[in-house]
Amino acid sequence: MDRTLADVADASDGRLLEIAEVTGSGAASRRLREIGFCTGAPVRFIRRAPLGDPAMYELRGALLSLRRSEARRIRVHRAGA
């Protein structure tokens, strides 16, 4: 069962996830794919900002932060699932 990156956060602290799909086709989605959020890429939730949003993720060796609204575009599942 796929969830989005916005839901997984706290529950799966530190667990490796795999991106299933980036939904949408506009400039925003394209940019997310260009910075590395593309299908098949492993991603890990690291922490939330002190005020609860945005959150920090580890992606291909870098730390990236996304707001909940963007994270919602990214569907993920457990790595290897």
């Binding site: 400039a27 925003a28 394209r30 940019r31 997310l32 794919r33 260009e34 910075i35 590395g36 593309c38 299908t39 098949g40 890429a41 690291i46 922490r47 900002a49 002190p50 005020l51 609860g52 949003d53 945005p54 920090m56 580890e58 992606l59 291909r60 060796g61 870098a62 730390l63 990236l64 932060s65 996304l66 707001r67 609204s69 963007e70």
Partner: protein, 642 residues
């Protein structure tokens, strides 16, 4: 095409080769550009430091003297979504009235090499010769990662050099390489990458390239993880930050004072010597009162400026800037903006001009314009001398808690006031005339890096020079003009009166005094007298001129024995009347916090927004707000008995 290029080195009037430096944000491009050209372009540890193209000649010691390097803003792809990315892409395509570059150095951060290769594929697709500079090799090794540049070169077909830009390692190789872009040829693997269309395909290609090399991915950056756990903690993080900031503002008062007193003594001594050594003519007094005391009153703040920039440059270099944006992004969301706008706002604390330039990284045009309109509220370094003078004169140095005094806290309060008003105004604009949804927010958080003291020292040195140059040019010029306006028209000296009394009569009847009195209706509600009004008009050229003006007026009145602050508040032993009540002084502080008094800022707003409409708007609304708030402050402070 290739053969044509090959002929160039032997052609008699050859054009210098132009090599562009392309790469992801924060990959180390500017550091390489500086190492190759000997420039000192601004580098910093957060994405989006460079927002404009910059050219420089390759240093001769690399063996070629006809190579021009072009540093570019960082990009994630060649489909630009913000102004800085557009600049980079236009340079590659041959925009700005220049031909396309002769070659492109693609800078790839070796610790996140997988994220850098897609851009190489895109650059190769442009058809320009490319080569690769692998930066951060030191960090890769420290985190027990490995990659062999020779193997990567074998796989890609184009030259690959491993470098550590800020320590000069590998720079000689890169310098030799960029002299001959016509020798860079790609392999079939690279052309496969160039053919990839979707981002996914380019990433997949990058992985296939890496799979063909023996490579050890680096371990997670432990230090960054640990520091983040601490600095991004809701309670501990805020406490650490606030303590740090409070210490800094206190330091400006306590630690910088001895150095400042020393400089003051120097200036006074110089002025006295000039007066004693030269005959008492108008020229002598212009030199002593107008130049030395006027400009000197600004120069004495050099220690505080140095301290301010040391802290700003440290924060920019260590990796905290992007974290600050991460922490306050939620607040920025309430305002209607995003984290990157906060980075531009923070940059404006040095000076609004680079801060406004930094808005180029903001993809949404409305968010960008909003940030431009509010950035001048950030407390730029030109406000510092005025704040320090007024606070030292009117706010008691009584301790509040531990090492912190009311003076330090007031200064901190003024800085927070600037930020608060910037955010409030932004919220108003975003709900009114610049309404519109934000574009997606993503921000890369770099690892923490320990800045090299020599880098910080050089940066601070550059800023100190800039401050002195400002004092020696615009502030000097305004001070001299003002001296004339304060001394003309001439009137015959009355032998019955003392020299000082005669001087005062000249001053009271001067053109400047008339102009200041003309403005009295405007500023009378705050109880500013004509001297302050003259200062306010003159500081329209540069905020620091306020300090220079007051110093001149007092020098001319013959009251230059005690400090300027003592005179202002009338707390001296001479028992002279204060120029300002405390309520008026607070009003003046607030006026300076909000007023738009900087021509360079207006000019850069005009350039970035393409017309006079927005600079005119900024000028009117900021000064209107400044007047209103100053008046309100005066009324409230008077009511409170200040």
């Amino acid at each position: 095409m290739t053969t044509l290029v090959r002929l160039r080195p032997t052609a008699p009037a050859r054009r210098p080769g132009r090599i562009a430096i392309l790469g992801a944000p924060n990959s180390g491009k500017t550091t390489l550009f500086n190492a190759l050209t000997g420039h000192r372009a601004k580098a910093g540890n957060y994405p989006g430091v460079t927002v404009d193209r910059r050219e420089g000649d390759l240093q001769r010691r690399f063996g070629a003297d006809d190579v021009r390097l072009i540093d570019l803003p960082g990009v994630y792809s060649l489909q630009p979504q913000s102004e800085d990315e557009t600049v980079a892409v236009r340079v590659l395509e041959g925009g700005f009235g220049e031909p396309a570059p002769d070659g492109v150095v693609v800078v790839v951060d070796a610790t996140t090499i997988e994220r850098g290769l897609p851009l190489l594929a895109e650059a190769a697709a442009l058809g320009l010769p490319v080569c690769v500079a692998l930066t951060m090799i030191d960090e890769l090794k420290a985190r027990r990662g490995e990659i062999d540049p020779a193997e990567l070169q074998q796989e890609l077909g184009v030259p690959v050099v491993g470098v550590v830009g800020n320590r000069g390692l590998g720079i000689d190789d890169l310098g030799a390489l960029v002299s001959a872009p016509w020798d860079w040829a790609g392999s079939s693997s690279l052309s496969r990458g160039a053919e990839a269309k979707a981002p996914e395909d380019r990433f997949a290609w990058g992985r296939s390239v890496l799979a063909a090399c023996r490579r050890q991915a680096p371990e997670p950056n432990r230090w960054t993880r640990r520091l983040d756990r601490f600095l991004l903690h809701p309670v501990i993080g805020s406490a650490v930050f606030l303590t740090f900031v409070a210490f800094f503002f206190q330091a400006i008062f306590t630690w910088a004072t001895p150095a400042m007193d020393f400089l003051s003594g120097l200036m006074d001594g110089l002025a006295d010597q000039i007066l004693a050594a030269l005959p008492d003519t108008a020229v002598t007094r212009l030199l002593a009162d107008g130049v030395i005391r006027g400009v000197g009153a600004v120069i004495v703040f050099l220690p505080q400026i140095v301290l301010l920039f040391t802290v700003i440059l440290f924060l920019e270099a260590c990796g905290y800037m992007a974290r600050a944006a991460f922490v306050v992004d939620r607040v920025m969301g309430w305002v209607g903006l995003e984290g990157r706008c906060f980075i531009a706002l923070l940059s404006s604390y040095a000076c609004a001009v680079p801060g406004i330039m930094a808005t180029r990284t903001i993809p949404s045009p409305r968010d960008r314009l909003t940030t431009i309109l509010v950035a001048p509220f950030a407390t730029c370094s030109a406000r510092l001398p005025v704040y320090l003078l007024l606070i030292a004169a009117f706010i008691p140095a009584d301790p509040v808690l531990g090492p912190f005094t009311w003076q330090g806290l007031t200064l901190m309060g003024l800085y927070f006031l600037g930020t608060g008003v910037a955010l409030l105004s932004a919220a108003v604009f975003k709900r009114g005339l610049l309404r519109g949804a934000s574009l997606p927010f993503y921000l890369e958080l770099p690892p923490y890096r320990l800045p090299r003291p020599s880098d910080i020292a050089l940066g601070v040195w550059d800023r100190a020079k800039l401050f002195l140059r400002r004092a020696g040019t615009i502030i000097l010029a305004v001070s001299v003009v003002l001296w004339f306006l304060l001394n003309l028209p001439r009137r015959p000296a009355d032998p019955e009166l003392s020299v000082a009394e005669n001087q005062r009569l000249v001053l009271e009847g001067s053109y400047a005094a008339s102009a200041g009195r003309l403005l009295e209706p405007v500023f009378a509600p705050m109880d500013f007298d004509w001297r302050i009004n003259v200062g306010l008009v003159a500081s329209q050229a540069a905020r620091e001129v306020m300090v220079a003006t007051l110093a001149q007026i007092y020098a001319q009145e013959g009251q230059d024995e005690e400090g300027l602050g003592v005179l202002l508040s009338g707390s001296g032993e001479g028992g002279s009347a204060p120029l300002l009540s405390r309520a008026s002084a607070l009003a003046l502080l607030v006026y300076f916090a909000f007023a738009m008094q900087c021509m360079s800022t207006l000019a850069v707003i005009r350039r970035e927004t393409g017309g006079w409409r927005w600079p005119a708007f900024t000028f009117v609304y900021m000064n209107g707000l400044a007047w209103l708030s100053a008046w309100l402050t005066f009324v409230l402070a008077s009511a409170a008995g200040a």
